[in-house]
């Protein structure tokens, strides 16, 4: 089976591959013909080009078939497989190729018309088996090389993809702070507080600045520690808490052993934002928001639960809430493949649960911290 990969070089097209193989054969023929002429032998040229060309036509076809049906296997093969399968295969293929060659060109070697098929074959095997095996292994190496090249290209593409996704997430985060729901409402709250409670206004302004600062200074890293992500979320949740003061109960609960766990940067924010925008803000009743993180075997399980307005499966809201969550889903998939999941469920009419499960990984690098200790 051929690998289902993209980035297959153009020369692996069968026509191009086999034609170039034949060209290589003709090149060899030409070389041999010239060198023999040089040594004073004058021979009938077509026989050279025919035999060399034919030999490389067969090899080209064989190799291409091998690529087509064994390509993925070749690329993944371990040493044991190479020794137990491909080594015998190389001998068998070379032999078969030579048997065919000797069968077709029965006037070769020249001037030995009296020899039987088997005699000629053994002569050829003796002279050229190693050369033929060399051709086999060159092809083998070429196919493996293509495998590495594909892998490299794929990784680079995945990385680029991730970078784009992160940039989108960052942009979304900034937009979240710069959107009418949040920035202008916060500014309006500050404006109102300025008349009644200057200190509270100041506090809120400082918090807003901290939030903007945190999201602006997020580095380029795809994965950050959960602690960093929570810093942001706590600040955001704290500010929202002031806006919904009196009718919203919220809590952020994470097991301290998870603080160093790696999570994709800006993972929780769109989910928490959804909880406010689509859930809590749509009801006048008392509501609650709980964000929890637990370890579950080798997995990290994060739940965001809010009461308020339910999912309203039938309304148009569903399409709108999609963008942020789709972005998260895509990033989880790029990072963890099938090992991560994102689930949205309605516990009942008023309660929405979003659950993210991802493999638990810890950072191996020491975080670059600002913390310093000193004396007066």
């Amino acid at each position: 089976m051929q690998t289902g990969r993209k980035n297959i070089p153009a020369f692996m097209n069968p026509a191009i591959f086999i034609t170039s193989s034949v060209l290589v054969g003709i090149l060899f023929a030409f070389q041999e013909w010239i060198s023999l002429r040089h040594m004073g032998y004058h021979m009938h040229a077509p026989i050279f080009f025919e035999s060399w060309g034919f030999q490389f036509l067969v090899w080209g076809t064989l190799c291409w078939i091998m690529w087509r049906f064994l390509g993925g296997w070749i690329q993944r093969a371990r040493l044991v497989t190479i020794l137990t399968i491909f080594l015998p295969l190389s001998i068998a293929t070379s032999l078969a190729q030579q048997m065919l060659f000797v069968f077709i060109f029965h006037n070769l070697p020249l001037n030995h018309e009296e020899m039987s098929y088997w005699q000629r074959l053994s002569m050829y095997v003796y002279a050229e088996l190693l050369d033929n095996m060399l051709i086999f292994w060159c092809a083998f190496l070429l196919f493996r090389g293509i495998g590495y090249y594909q892998q490299y290209r794929e990784q680079r593409e995945a990385k680029t993809e991730l970078e784009i996704q992160l940039a989108n997430a960052k942009l979304a985060a900034l937009r979240m702070q710069l959107n009418p729901h949040f920035l202008f409402n916060t500014m309006n709250s500050i404006s109102s507080l300025m008349r009644s409670d200057v200190e509270a206004a100041d506090t809120m302004l400082e918090q807003l600045s901290c939030l903007l600062r945190l999201s602006l200074e997020r580095g380029e890293s795809q994965l950050i520690s959960l602690r960093e992500e929570l810093d942001f979320i706590e600040l955001y949740v704290g500010m929202q808490g002031q806006r919904y003061a009196g009718r919203l109960k919220q809590s952020v609960n994470f097991d301290p052993e998870l603080y160093d766990a790696l999570v994709p940067s800006m993972l929780l924010q769109p989910i928490v934002e959804n909880a406010y925008v689509h859930g809590i803000s749509k009801t006048d009743a008392k509501s609650s928001l709980t964000i929890e993180g637990k370890r579950d075997g080798n997995q990290l399980k994060i739940c965001v639960m809010n009461s308020g307005n339910g999912l309203n499966m039938k309304s148009n809201d569903r399409g709108r809430r999609g963008v942020g969550l789709r972005n998260i889903e895509a990033r989880l998939k790029l990072h963890y493949g099938a090992d991560a999941t994102l689930e949205i469920a309605e516990a009942d009419q008023r309660n929405v649960h979003v659950t993210i499960v991802l493999p638990l990984q810890y950072s191996t690098e020491e975080e670059n911290q600002l913390t310093r200790f000193g004396t007066q």
Partner: protein, 250 residues
């Protein structure tokens, strides 16, 4: 009276400081300036004890100003509170023993905290030692620390710490009304802190003895440390005798 100079190239920024400092009785503003050159001149002229300093000014940055000032042999350098929108220079400010580093916009509370620290520093009569000033013998214990918490930069005096709780690879530092999470082990923190003030009462807790109200014995032989704020910190048996000795000693 603490004589202070305000240096910031923005009028409104100076105005905010001026208005907030109006409520502080023992601070007198002796001058305001908008460029580094003016600042140097004004400090030389008025010899203030406190300088509110912006880092980015049109002609020179705040650190250059301090360097110039500390090269004056016959003059004591004022204590410095940096007031800036840029958080990149915090460590440098901490290292030259700035009193505080206020990120714009800041709350009056933060400002008052910083001024309070200036008062304490002036009481102990310690000179400001900005950058190039002579080096003191290093003290064995940490008295101040800088860290980042929820987007803010804090210069914390360890006296403000009430208690510290271990949380896996982190410690939660509880101060007046806030708590901060720091990536540090409680053991290494214990070693940095003066054992006359800070006592390990539990595998996962350190209390500041100045904030302890009492030690309550529990029926099962364990005990609870009650802080002046009312918070209760569990104490394990092995640490009990130590704290009772220390509390009597005080």
């Amino acid at each position: 009276m603490i004589r202070a100079v305000l240096a910031d190239d923005e009028v409104l920024a100076r105005q905010k400081l001026r208005q907030l400092l109006k409520d502080v009785d023992d601070v007198e503003i002796v001058g305001e300036c908008s460029t580094a050159a003016e600042t140097i001149e004004l400090v030389r002229l008025t010899d203030p004890q406190l300088l509110f300093l912006d880092i980015r000014m049109s002609d020179m940055n705040g650190f250059d100003v301090l360097e110039r000032l500390s090269s004056d042999a016959d003059r004591t350098v004022p204590h410095v509170i940096f007031v800036t929108a840029n958080d990149r220079y915090a460590v440098r400010a901490f290292e030259i023993h700035a009193i505080d580093y206020l990120l714009k916009p800041f709350t009056p509370e933060r400002l008052h905290g910083a001024v309070q620290r200036v008062r304490e520093r002036l009481l102990t009569g310690e000179p400001a030692q900005n950058g190039t000033a002579k080096k003191q013998e290093p003290e064995p214990y940490t008295t101040r620390m800088i860290f980042k918490s929820r987007g803010r930069i804090l210069f914390l005096s360890v006296d403000d710490i009430r208690w510290i709780e271990a949380q896996e690879n982190y410690v939660r530092i509880c101060t007046g009304k806030d708590s901060h999470l720091l990536r540090e082990t409680i053991g290494s923190l214990e070693n940095r802190l003066d054992p006359n003030s800070f006592l390990r009462v539990h595998r996962s807790a350190i209390v500041n003895l100045h904030h302890v109200k009492e030690v309550k014995n529990e029926s099962d032989g364990d005990a609870t440390v009650v802080l002046k704020s009312g918070e209760q910190v569990p104490m394990s048996r092995s640490y009990r005798s130590k704290i009772q000795k220390l509390l009597k000693f005080q």
